[in-house]
């Protein structure tokens, strides 16, 4: 009985994924790439997705199996001992290294698990990232229309929502952060000209 229940639930979930959203998707990839809320901390889903390339089913990936050129760099980063094969452990290790932060391509940068450096590159409000305008690193593009974990930080935003979540802030910390945000917003609007303020607003 239980078995049937499990099976029909599985079928149901298959249908939900395959028909309600993306017809014909294989079960492994019901989780759409656009659904960025997908468990970022789930190493096994990453490993399993990679192992769909394991043609000879030996539980590891060889260079020959990763025929998709787009994944070469990932393969090379995962192949820690450089023996031309990537094991489950190596995949899991790569995931640990790259998944949590916004660490691009295994470059030095953020600690793997948020932490104090969890906000983008430890920049200040909005980040003086030296855009051509040299302004507070903000523009309409940073604004709306973005998905997933609240999207990219808004101009002047100290910690974007997804980082707040990732850091598991306490209520007290959230409140302090809100207060700090208010001060930043205020100061920022004092620095900017009227026209710049309007430009910013548009991005929010």
């Amino acid at each position: 009985m239980k078995k049937y229940l499990v099976l029909s639930l599985f079928l149901l979930s298959l249908n939900g994924g395959a028909f309600a959203q993306q017809p014909g998707r294989p079960p492994e990839r019901r989780d759409e790439p656009r659904n960025e809320q997908r468990a970022a901390g789930d190493s096994s889903s990453f490993v399993n997705r990679m192992l769909t390339l394991d043609k000879n089913k030996d539980g590891k990936l060889s260079k020959a199996e990763v025929t998709d050129a787009r994944l070469q760099a990932l393969f090379d980063r995962a192949d820690a001992d450089k023996n031309g094969e990537v094991t489950k452990d190596e995949l899991a290790a790569l995931f640990q290294k790259e998944a949590a932060g916004s660490n691009p391509g295994g470059r030095a940068g953020m600690p793997p698990e948020g932490g104090a450096g969890g906000r983008p590159q430890g920049r200040g409000p909005g980040g003086p990232q030296g855009g051509p305008q040299g302004g507070p690193g903000a523009g309409p593009e940073a604004g709306p229309g973005n998905r997933g974990f609240g999207g990219p930080p808004q101009p002047g935003q100290i910690l974007p929502p997804f980082l707040r979540d990732e850091l598991k802030l306490s209520d007290e910390q959230r409140k302090q952060l809100d207060d700090l945000q208010k001060q930043v917003d205020q100061k920022l609007s004092e620095i900017l000209t009227e026209a710049q303020r309007r430009q910013l607003q548009e991005g929010r």
């Binding site: 017809p23 294989p26 990679m50 998709d68 101009p155």
Partner: protein, 224 residues
């Protein structure tokens, strides 16, 4: 096929199809990872340029090229099985070397800054090989977007198949870029990056970049 479908029959077909999954999984496992969709952003041109060709460096028969480092962007449009998609239209748009988009909301306040010789938008329709080709500039950061990027939209006729962006592999701005950071999946992050490689012996310091777009299944391909 827009025949009216008997509801019960449709249900049975659905069930039958689900069951088929178990036996054909091997087939699906061969599929390519789909290119992740990314936000279109606010600056798809509000008024398309007269010249919409795939050379964004030269507008019409102007003699002045765009400012910036020339990039030969090539790639293929593929379906989920890796087969080339013909007659697909790929559009790209990006800000000019001075970080101004071809969109009045961006270009009007930045009139002085704008590079009037950059086309800002281009279009290409694939042939049987699914290949596309653009000559454009190496993307630069934009205020609020530390990750240089090229916006991409692929259409078939009027139907939009995907909107995404190409980012530069290894660029230091990626880590603090909101769009990049918003992609939480390690594999998906890989699929939006392209390598910018120096064109050997190019006197102009040109670059080449290659980016394949892998589409998901389109409504037309829906199994019935």
């Amino acid at each position: 096929m827009s025949l009216p479908i008997h509801p019960r029959r449709a249900f049975l077909q659905t069930m039958a199809f689900s069951a088929a999954y178990f036996t054909t999984r091997g087939l699906f496992a061969e599929e390519l990872f789909q290119t992740p969709r990314l936000t279109e952003g606010p600056f798809y041109p509000d008024k398309l340029p007269l010249d919409k060709d795939n050379d964004l460096i030269i507008i019409s028969d102007s003699t002045t090229p765009a400012v910036g480092e020339i990039t030969h962007l090539t790639g293929r449009i593929l379906d989920a099985k890796g087969d080339p998609v013909r007659d697909a239209t790929i559009e790209i748009w990006q800000c000019d070397a001075n970080a101004v988009y071809l969109h009045s909301r961006d270009s009007e306040p930045k009139k002085q800054q704008q590079d009037k010789h950059f086309q800002g938008f281009g279009r290409f329709t694939t042939g049987s090989t699914g290949e596309y080709r653009f000559r454009t500039i190496k993307p630069v950061p934009y205020p609020g977007r530390p990750a240089p990027h090229i916006h991409v939209k692929v259409l078939k006729g009027d139907r939009e198949l995907i909107t995404t962006q190409i980012l530069m592999r290894g660029h230091e701005g990626n880590a603090r870029d909101g769009v990049y950071s918003g992609v939480r999946d390690v594999i998906d992050r890989e699929l939006i990056l392209a390598d910018w490689n120096k064109v050997p012996e190019s006197k102009l310091g040109e670059w080449s970049a290659s980016f394949d777009v892998v589409l998901g299944r389109t409504p037309d391909e829906r199994p019935r």
